[in-house]
């Protein structure tokens, strides 16, 4: 049996800091241009064995402690990466300082990568060798890279505020670049412009928990706060799918409505014409002849078509089951007025009206009718149809089907609004007027 042999682990090369004499470790396999003494934070030239001082930090910087200790190794994005450098950078906007962390990762076969962290949001950043198309130094237009469009998010002057470890460039505290970010979640393209060059990189949003797992860090990642510029929306790409499902369900509902429209019997069980006058003597109420309702319990439509003209009438109805003595009591106002005034011609109401009586059981029925009106006369037709579809249910169901996709869309829009409120192009302008005038 062949014994398992662990691959060799590269040991850091230790030198002495020319400023404080403390040990300075080098892990960058000779690629590092700058190394920072962890004891006195002096920035040293790592390109020669002499470790010349590049920058002495006179006043003690407010020392930051990296969440990923330098020298830690983690497996992510298809490689093993060692954290060899750490810096913080900041932009000042409207008097407010926004500071983020950058970890320099090194793999001797793959080169350098970065991890950035702001408010618990992490990005794994890869320097780009190819330039995005249509890059614009003013940073106001979208850029194109690898088939994706990236919208400009923000730009500003970033200043290095703290450095520790090794860097493949001559890092200095106070170093300034003009940085622009372009987003297409979960990606972000960043440009850093100095007087000599433009460097582009692409970051991919990584949950903090994945960083903690990759580097086997103790505890758990700090909770992310707010919405980050390239944080994937939890429902962003699902909104279209939700609406597609809504369309499918609406089609099913429409199919059901059509099926009921076709297969409902809509059987006319009674039809007759009558006349009524307010001046007629005697009892106005009367009962119709018997009619039979057959089949399953179904709705019964009672429709009245009148000859009203600038008048109203009220019908008291009672649908009485001849056999059981059970009755449905209901009434219907019918009014129709029209005329002309200074606004032109107008009309109001209708000569026709109908009532849908629910779930009327089969049996022998008659209808008691009692018309009322103040003055005038009318003729009217009564039509009773059994098993008539009630489309109210379909409208109600369509409205209820609509609620989840609408809420989904609102949540997705709200997420995007939160994202872009932090950009140079906020969708809603917030006035800074504090009312002190």
């Amino acid at each position: 049996m062949t014994p398992h042999v662990e691959p060799p682990v590269a040991k850091p090369h230790a030198l002495a800091c020319p400023n404080c004499g403390g040990p300075v470790e080098r892990r960058g396999f000779g690629y590092s241009m700058t190394v920072v003494c962890p004891g006195c934070l002096t920035v040293l030239d790592a390109s020669t064995p002499l470790l010349q001082v590049l920058q002495k930090i006179e006043a003690e910087q407010s020392r930051r402690t990296p969440m990923i200790p330098l020298g830690s190794r983690g497996n992510m994005s298809g490689g093993t990466w060692e954290a060899i450098g750490f810096q913080t950078r900041a932009v000042v906007e409207d008097g407010e300082t926004f500071e983020w962390e950058e970890y320099l990762l090194f793999n001797p076969y793959k080169g350098f990568r970065y991890l950035t962290q702001y408010d618990g949001h992490w990005n794994f950043v890869t320097p780009l060798e190819a330039m995005p198309q249509s890059p614009n130094q003013r940073g106001l237009f979208p850029v194109f890279y690898d088939g994706l469009v990236y919208k400009h998010f923000s730009g500003g002057q970033a200043t290095t505020t703290f450095v520790l470890g090794e860097f493949p460039w001559r890092v200095r505290v106070g170093e300034q670049v003009v940085a622009h970010d372009y987003v297409n979640p979960p990606w972000v393209l960043s440009s850093e412009i100095t007087k000599d060059e433009i460097a582009w990189s692409r970051g991919e949003y990584v949950p903090g928990s994945a960083i903690w797992k990759a580097f086997q860090l103790p505890g758990s990642a700090p909770a992310a706060r707010g919405v980050y510029l390239n944080q994937p929306s939890p429902m962003g790409h699902k909104v279209g799918g939700m609406w597609a499902n809504f369309a499918l369900m609406l089609a099913l509902l429409l199919g059901l409505a059509i099926a009921f429209a076709i297969f409902s019997r809509k059987e006319t069980v009674f039809r007759s014409s009558y006349a009524f006058s307010s001046s007629q003597q005697g009892e106005p109420s009367f009962v119709t002849g018997d009619f039979d309702l057959t089949g399953r319990p179904a709705s019964l439509e009672v429709a009245v078509n009148t000859s009203l003209d600038n008048n109203w009438t009220y019908f008291n109805f009672a649908l009485v089951n001849e056999d059981t003595g059970q009755a449905y009591d209901f009434g219907r106002e019918v009014s129709y007025y029209h005329g002309a005034d200074s606004d032109g011609s107008w009309d109001e109401g209708s000569r026709d009206s109908s009532v849908l009586i629910p779930a009327v059981a089969p049996g022998k029925y008659y209808l008691r009718v009692e018309p009322e009106m103040d003055s005038g006369a009318l003729t009217y037709d009564l039509t009773l149809r059994h098993d008539v579809p009630n489309y109210t249910w379909f409208w109600l169901a369509a409205g209820l089907l609509l609620i989840p996709p609408v809420l989904y869309t609102i949540r997705a829009r709200s997420f995007e609004t939160q994202r872009w409120m932090n950009s140079d192009h906020p969708p809603i302008r917030v006035s800074s007027n504090d009312g002190d005038d």
């Binding site: 799918g241 009672a318 003595g325 059970q326 009591d329 009532v355 629910p358 169901a397």
Partner: protein
């Protein structure tokens, strides 16, 4: 189906709609009166309707 919750919700709605439609239910509920006397057929004026199903309104501009 990427939205099983919505699928279940939709199916419940469609089933409910089908059932309500099949049973002939409506949102309106007319008053129901039991034991209407047989004499109503011969004397419809003796029947007193129970109002309340629809409000009465006299229109006109």
């Amino acid at each position: 189906m990427r939205f099983p919750g919505y699928l279940i919700y939709s199916m419940l709605l469609l089933t409910g709609t089908t059932w309500a439609e099949f049973r002939g239910w409506t949102l309106d509920r007319p008053n129901q009166v039991n034991n209407v006397p047989k004499t109503v057929r011969d004397n419809p004026g003796a029947y007193r309707a129970v109002y309340g199903f629809y409000p009465r309104y006299v229109g006109g501009k």
